[in-house]
């Protein structure tokens, strides 16, 4: 008897769900996919946006910049978050499928190189970082630290941060195969905090503890210099990012298929507007400059 009731209940639920009008609800939902660096920021932006506009539901998924870009190309999302630029092959693929991507910059990141709090090193040059991640420098003493093998932490190939670093710092060479490929920014932070010989790269929004406003305990953010002669700058100062002194700054993008309209356009406008940018700053990233704003406006038309 009880079994029959249970089956009946199950069938009722399933029946209700198959009801056609229900499918409309999620179809209206805006799907945002992509960069792990951006995912938490965009989620909070989406939450605040939905508080003001409850009729526009937004679903935010992660998966890495590569996932977002594939998603936009395959038609499985409306907005793709990415922390690196599209590769030429991706742009061609998109055009082949009839997808004409438009890019909006919603924030700026100072990609931070982090080491364990106990590590005596304070700064590195871009070349040194590249050599370390290519596996050419294997011991901390080669860059002025303790005599210990360097423990590399990085992301996986779906990550925009991974690709960005590979292009701009590794000079398009292969990563060391000994790099431990973590599933996200947070895992890198956690691992480096526990690993005295560790080094990792994360978005700047992840290194600051929201409650104290300071860098998380147990972590140290390295100052990076363009080359051995230049000064080393910290990614934590907005001035360094805006002036271009910090060599590993990058824009945080969202891409849409063609001109955005309706809820998608409203959401992006919210993000690049004053309210959204306040949230960006609150989350530890940097606001967009005038040049980015101009570009955004062009793409809205």
């Amino acid at each position: 008897m009880k079994i029959k009731l249970a089956i009946l209940l199950g069938l009722i639920i399933v029946g209700l769900m198959l009801a056609p009008q229900a499918t409309q609800a999620q179809k209206k939902m805006i799907q945002v996919k992509g960069s792990d660096t951006l995912v938490n920021l965009v989620q909070i932006l989406a939450e605040e946006f939905m508080n003001k506009n409850p009729q526009t539901p937004i679903a935010v998924l992660g998966g890495g910049s590569g996932t977002g870009i594939s998603g936009l190309i395959n038609g499985t999302c409306h907005i793709a978050d990415h922390s690196r630029e599209w590769k030429q092959s991706e742009i061609s693929q998109a055009w082949e499928k009839g997808v004409k991507p438009r890019f909006f910059v919603i924030g700026v990141d100072g990609l931070s190189i982090i080491v364990n709090g106990s590590n005596p090193i304070e700064k590195l040059t871009m070349d040194q970082v590249g050599a370390i991640y290519r596996g050419e420098i294997k011991n901390w003493k080669a860059v002025g630290g303790a005599d210990a093998p360097i423990s590399l932490y990085g992301r996986q190939s779906n990550s925009g941060t991974y690709v960005f670093l590979q292009e701009h710092v590794l000079k398009n060479k292969n990563y060391s195969p000994d790099m431990k490929e973590m599933n996200g920014n947070a895992q890198i932070i956690e691992s480096v905090m526990q690993d005295q010989a560790g080094i990792g790269y994360v978005g700047v929004g992840y290194v600051v503890d929201k409650d104290t406003g300071k860098v998380r305990k147990g972590l140290k953010v390295l100052n990076i210099s363009k080359d051995a002669q230049s000064e080393a700058f910290s990614p934590l100062e907005k001035a360094n990012i805006d002036s271009g002194n910090y060599p590993v700054a990058r824009a945080l993008y969202q891409a849409t298929n063609g001109k955005p309209s309706g809820g998608v356009a409203d959401f992006i406008r919210f993000e690049v507007g004053p309210e959204g940018q306040k949230i960006v700053e609150r989350e530890g990233f940097f606001t967009i400059g005038a040049a980015h704003q101009e570009n955004n406006e062009k793409n809205f038309k």
Binding site: I3, G10, I13, V14, M17, L18, A19, A22, T23, A25, Q26, M29, D36, V39, N40, Q43, I44, A46, E47, M50, P57, I58, A59, V60, L61, G62, T76, M182, N183, G184, N185, A186, Q187, I189, E190, G205, Y206, D209, K210, R216
Partner: protein
């Protein structure tokens, strides 16, 4: 005398093995309960996540897991029961039957990520269900099928042949004899095994990774073609990809605790059914 010493030592080693296993299990449970209990509250269990998942609850994940498991059950239970009926009641001891049994055992050994791959090809792409509760549920249904078949078959085996023969002797057709004389006695046993299989499905992550699980959805799924949040996937993301990793660690533990309680609860339900069944039989 030497024999006695060897025996005592030998049995001691065996006992140590048992203690190691018990100790490991207790260690886990203690860690999860100790660090997760703090996060459990009525709000945690009934509300949606807020403020970027650092507050609020995991209700959508619980709901999503429930829905997916429901679809899994609707798929695996009847198919498993029917296949078991065939194997135990109709099949002859020939090569084909051996092949079927071999296939069942092999299916139970297929890695869960391979089921996920199969689900992506068949349900998400070919049948165009997309990433949805339906795709994920069907994928998990296939994963659970070997277990429901085996459990149902075991249950059918316990029904004495005299029951079947009695009915046949009175002129019943084969199906009639099964329907009236075998199934009513076998169904409770079938349920036990099925619930165990479903408990396993509820805890699986790999098959739902690419067939429908999502990290943050602003609304509960309202149709079978929607994506869904799920407990195991939620735990995975909280543990590896979340932003405020120190802030959400207690929430991750809480999610783990809820997941374990759910799975163990289902296991316990199955054990209780089995126990009650045996008691009814004996008395």
């Amino acid at each position: 005398m030497k024999k006695k010493i060897f025996q005592v030592l030998g049995f001691l080693i065996l006992r140590v093995c048992l203690y190691i296993v018990l100790a490991i299990l207790l260690l886990f449970l203690y860690d999860v309960i100790h660090k997760g209990a703090g996060a459990i509250s009525w709000e945690f269990l009934t509300k949606a996540p807020r403020r970027g998942m650092t507050q609020g609850g995991i209700f959508p994940a619980i709901f999503g897991t429930f829905l997916v498991t429901l679809i899994t059950a609707l798929c695996a239970v009847p198919l498993g029961m029917f296949a078991a009926i065939y194997l135990n009641e109709y099949a002859r001891q020939n090569r084909l039957t051996r092949l079927i049994r071999l296939s069942i055992r092999n299916l139970s050994g297929v890695p869960s990520i391979v089921y996920g791959l199969f689900g992506v090809i068949l349900f998400v792409n070919m049948l165009k269900f997309g990433t949805s509760i339906l795709s994920a549920g069907l994928t998990l249904g296939l994963l659970t099928l070997p277990w429901t078949i085996t459990a149902s078959e075991e249950a059918l085996k316990t029904v004495p042949n005299s029951y079947r023969e009695g009915a046949l002797a009175l002129g019943a057709t084969k199906w009639q004899s099964i329907r009236t004389n075998v199934l009513p006695y076998a169904v409770p046993g079938m349920l036990t095994g099925t619930v165990l299989g479903l408990a396993r499905a509820a805890g699986e992550t790999a098959p739902i990774l690419f067939t429908g699980a999502a990290f943050y959805l602003p609304m509960l799924p309202r149709s079978l073609k929607d994506q869904f949040m799920a407990l195991p996937y939620h735990l995975y993301i909280m543990a590896t990809q979340h932003h405020e990793i120190t802030a959400v660690r207690p929430l991750a533990y809480g999610t783990a605790l809820v997941l374990i309680c759910l799975v163990l609860g289902m296991n316990m339900a199955a054990v209780i059914i089995r126990y009650r069944l045996r008691r009814k039989r004996r008395g």
